[in-house]
């Protein structure tokens, strides 16, 4: 990368000014291409090579901006750590969503999958008297199974992931209502019968910063997935499938099997999110996180992962989730109505996708 940009800047210096000495210059088409290299182009190339930079810059700018707008309250240790707490669930869902979007898919059912898994955990341990750990295990299995179910539909029926997960979103949601009869499992009942379900909601105070265990778990999930994606063959295959599925198949990757495993891993991550969500909310409510699907997609997109697959980083999604958190917190501390939070978020999504499209043009 550096080599190239060095070459480019050297070439730029060598470029003839106007048309005076063009005659003796090397006129093959390569130098013609480089002649059009502008500062903007260089930025484009740089961002293309470092896709996480955009969300990092947006995060830093938004923190600074809200520091000015909302004042010291925003910068308090309590508020900053509250933002992290608030994005924990969406962050975990975004981690799962990133895996799917990297394959050029999309998963509209992640939040419904999560609520279904949390219903199994709560129902079995609180109402049916099953020990908490096996109940959690059943919830985990539910997450993996529902994820793999999505993957099987996508690969076996050759349906677009959008349609498959639009369908399963409704199916999972209906199952949630069926199993709960629209009744929440109350926080106090969980505390008495299955306190372990609240584990990730425990708080720890580090010099004014208050973090839940769940926030640390979220960070752990991101680090784990980073290693998985960047240091294992499985991870490289996730990118290869999203980049060009046919090429991946011809390279010897069993793309269908891979896709099912990717959806299943995403389901597993979602199921971890289910456990964490019980700690975060306190109760198990069948109607909670109804917007979690779209929030997770928002975080992934703002985090610089391309909806067209093959491009993006898992850490970007963490920044994406934090950006959403910073915006909501900053705007509400500044006293703006909730509608403006949504308005800002909408603009952010469009800007993020616009930047992504622009950066992608480099490869052509």
């Amino acid at each position: 990368m550096n080599k190239i940009s060095d070459d480019i800047s050297k070439d730029l210096k060598d470029q003839p000014k106007f048309t005076t000495d063009i005659g003796e210059k090397d006129q093959d088409h390569h130098s013609f291409d480089l002649g059009e290299q502008t500062t903007l182009k260089k930025i484009q190339h740089f961002l293309h090579g470092n896709p996480t930079i955009v969300p990092v810059i947006i995060l830093i700018l938004s923190v600074i901006a809200f520091g000015f707008i909302a004042g010291g309250k925003f910068f308090s240790a309590f508020n900053l750590s509250l933002i992290v707490q608030q994005v924990t669930i969406v962050g975990i869902l975004a981690a799962a969503q990133t895996l799917i979007i990297l394959t050029a898919g999309i998963d509209l059912s992640v939040a419904a999958m999560m609520v279904l898994a949390s219903v199994f955990m709560g129902k079995l341990s609180v109402e049916m008297g099953i020990p908490t750990l096996p109940a959690i295990l059943v919830g985990m299995i539910s997450g993996v199974a529902t994820g793999a179910f999505n993957g099987l539909l996508v690969t076996r029926l050759r349906l677009p992931p959008f349609i498959v997960t639009l369908g399963t979103w409704n199916i999972f949601f209906a199952l949630v209502i069926f199993f709960t009869g629209s009744q929440s499992i109350r926080s106090s009942d969980i505390e008495v019968n299955a306190p372990l379900l609240h584990f990730w909601g425990e708080r720890i105070n580090l010099g004014g910063f208050v973090f839940t265990y769940g926030a640390f778990l979220m960070i752990g999930i991101f680090i784990f997935l980073w290693f998985l994606l960047n240091r294992t063959a499985w991870g490289r295959h996730v990118y290869a499938i999203g980049d060009d599925k046919e090429a991946a198949e011809l390279s010897g990757i069993r793309t269908d099997r891979m896709l099912v495993s990717i959806y299943a891993v995403a389901g597993f991550v979602v199921a971890i999110g289910a456990w964490v969500s019980i700690g975060r909310v306190g109760s198990v409510s069948p109607t909670s996180f109804y917007e979690g699907n779209l929030d997770s997609i928002t975080a992934v997109v703002i985090g610089g992962t391309s909806l067209f697959g093959g491009r993006g980083t898992i850490i970007g999604s963490l920044f994406g989730a934090l950006i959403v958190g910073v915006f909501s917190s900053g705007l509400s501390i500044a006293g703006l109505d909730v509608l403006w939070q949504r308005f800002a978020l909408g603009c952010l999504i469009i800007v993020a996708v616009g930047i992504d499209q622009w950066i992608r043009k480099v490869s052509n």
Partner: protein
């Protein structure tokens, strides 16, 4: 000398359309066999049958004298038949190393590799660099460069290096110069020479007569779903080949 790869009486029908009609082909050790034919002559079906992308209705394929059959390009590749597709089948967003080892990654030794499945990125990068420099592709400086930052010819180089790296017996190249400029085509033709010099026989499918005549040792002319004739590029002109291909001239008797 026995041929490395033999196709005998391959036939393939798509509904009423006969794509392959008892087609034969022989590839001898260390040679470049050019395959030419008009559009719709069935040469791409022939090549797909040889690389596993199409399963012929009848006929047989022999590799090193043994009858083989495969139902996918992956199986053909396991037997040593590598194909460089026209679209190259590379993942542009991955690095050169990643692409060369896609589906055949090297894992780290010991616990890290066996249980955590960690990749041995150093070993793969070294191997990839070695393969590329073996083929005279030293111009690629950074082995971890993304493939999309490479030129068309360099990408072709990566695809060829990948195809010749894993115990390969036969390389099939489908229109390797079709998307390239003059300079880059030249480089790819040199590359074909390098691969042949290493003793790997090549089947070269191309529409570009000058390129075929330049590098091929023998030229297989395909017409109406079968082999019309095999000609020696030193004894015939390009115009003859075109005449055979289109039926304007009677083919020589082999």
């Amino acid at each position: 000398m026995d041929p490395v790869l033999v196709a005998k009486k391959l036939s393939k029908k798509y509904g009423k359309v006969v794509a392959l009609d008892n087609a034969d082909l022989e590839l001898y050790p260390g040679e470049v066999l050019g395959v030419i034919g008009d559009n719709g002559a069935g040469k791409s079906t022939l090549i797909k049958a040889l690389c596993g992308a199409v399963i012929p209705d009848s006929g047989e394929i022999q590799l090193d004298g043994n009858k083989v059959s495969f139902t996918s390009p992956i199986e053909a590749r396991k037997l040593g038949i590598e194909t460089v597709y026209q679209n190259l089948a590379l993942s542009p967003a991955l690095s050169i190393t990643d692409n060369m080892f896609l589906g055949r990654e090297i894992r780290q030794k010991g616990f890290m590799g066996k249980f955590l499945k960690f990749l041995d990125q150093k070993a793969m990068a070294e191997e990839a660099r070695k393969r590329l420099s073996d083929l005279g592709l030293l111009t690629i400086q950074n082995i971890n460069q993304l493939v999309e930052t490479l030129s068309g010819g360099q990408r072709q180089g990566v695809a060829v290096a990948r195809a010749t790296s894993f115990g390969t017996k036969v390389v099939i190249m489908d229109e390797p110069t079709a998307a390239l400029g003059v300079k880059e085509s030249r480089r790819v033709l040199e590359l074909i020479g390098e691969v042949r010099a290493r003793g790997i026989p090549i089947i070269l499918i191309s529409h570009n007569m000058p390129h075929v005549f330049e590098v091929a040792d023998r030229i297989h002319v395909h017409r109406l779903g079968t082999r019309l004739c095999v000609i020696d590029p030193k004894k015939y002109e390009m115009s003859d080949a075109v005449a055979f291909m289109t039926g304007a001239k009677e083919p020589p008797l082999n």
